[in-house]
Every structure is written in C-alpha cells, then in structure tokens.
Subunit: 110 residues, 2 copies
Amino acid sequence: MARSATTLDAFAAIAEPRRREILGALAHGGGEQDVTWLVEELGWPQPQVSKHLGVLREVGLVSVVRKGRRRMYSVNGEELKPVYEWAKEFERFWENQLRRIKERAEGRGK
Amino acid sequence: MARSATTLDAFAAIAEPRRREILGALAHGGGEQDVTWLVEELGWPQPQVSKHLGVLREVGLVSVVRKGRRRMYSVNGEELKPVYEWAKEFERFWENQLRRIKERAEGRGK
DNA sequence: TTGACATATGCCCATATCGGAATATATTAA
DNA sequence: TTAATATATTCCGATATGGGCATATGTCAA
C-alpha cells in the first residue's frame, strides 16, 4: 500500500493547474458551457478536457446536464467551500505578517 | 513528458491530507514546534514527518529556525493566501446556492 | 439507416509520489 | 573523542497520474 488511498476530494482536484483553469473558464463563461466551448477556449486536445472534467465531476466540482448531443457543464462552487474555509483558518497568519510589515514600515515595529 | 512538470506550489502541497494535518497541528500548537513534538502529536514515523515538512518547506508553507540540535517549525500562512483568494473567487457560487435553498425554504423561491 | 458531430474511454508510457526501513548528518553532552 | 539525541536523506517497491492517440458511445440530421 503506497500513497494514501487516492483521496479524491476537492483539495486533490484543484491541485492540478489545468483543473483550476477549467473551473476559471467555466466561471467566467457565464452559466453553462459545453465541452467544445471549453476545448476552444483552452486550446487543449478534447480528450484531455474530458478527462479533467471527469475528475471534477467525480469530486462534484462541476455539474453536467445533457443537452442533446452535448453536455453543459457548470461550476458547483459549493464543493469549493471547504477549501475556502480551511484556508481561512490560517488568515491570522498572513494578517499578522502584514501587520508586522506595516508596523515596521511605519517605524514603530521592532 | 507526462505530468505537468511537477508544479510544486501551495495548491499541490495541501492536496495531501497529511500535510494539511501538519499545518493544522503547527497552527494550534502555538508559535514554533520542533519535529519531535510533531512526531508525538501526530503519531507518525519521524521520517515521514520530515519528508512532508520538506515539501512544505520547499513551497514556503513553513519556516524553520535551527535551535540547537532541533529545528523549530512554524506556519508561514502568507503562502496560503493565494489558495484562499482563488477559492474566494467562487464564493458567489455557494452563496447563490445558499440563497436559492433559503428562498425555497421560505416559500418564495421558484 | 447512414453519416457527421459531441463527448467519453481505454490503452500505453513516462514519471511523480507515498510509505517503510535503514542510514547519514549535525549537534550537544559526557 | 565518543555517545546520544534530533532530524534529514536515500533507496525501494507499489501505485496513481497526466498526456497522447485511437476508439467507443451517444445523438442528431439527411
């Protein structure tokens, strides 16, 4: 047994830059977009787009609706909330950092 | 060429659950903690802890300070900000979802 | 039906990665 | 110097993963 059992969650899914690009494209593309639109928008080979969409689908980061012979994808942001919340827990760290820098710049920090 | 050139960034680093655990432990453990503390806190073999720390270090998610024969690690939250910001861009998605649910519950949504 | 279009899958290869165990390296104490 | 402590590194095996390409599947149009 190597590798922690393929934990396929949102964190793992968005680790891949391409997958983040897809989500970004969908988010900016308005409501729903089909695969062909994504392929043109991103300029990658279609199978690749479909595969990454597959991962995003498994994790629930995108939703699909069949529309005739095409499939309309849309972002399912709900699944991104855990990531947001988790990172937010560390907010105080970068805030502290900023405060410290600011204080130093103002000449009152140590 | 397979696999997108080992993009070693914060996103990739936190994809690993163990690494998130380490960050969490460090965050709750107060300022700095040494490796031994982490090993006891997490209950994992020491090499494993060191290896994951190595990745976090490379990405800049933790800082190290040598203190005698031990190394004090601390969270460098700054590096987590991009993740937070990125996820935040999708905030409207889960907010919409919540609003929709809420509206439905209140009997005024469609 | 048949053919064109849209999308998903399967297969293969190269490589990254995790866990485990042993060991190297550094530093303090005796 | 030598032993002990603290931590990092290396080697290994198993496995997951991404890209490329070919192809299967599904759906509409003629």
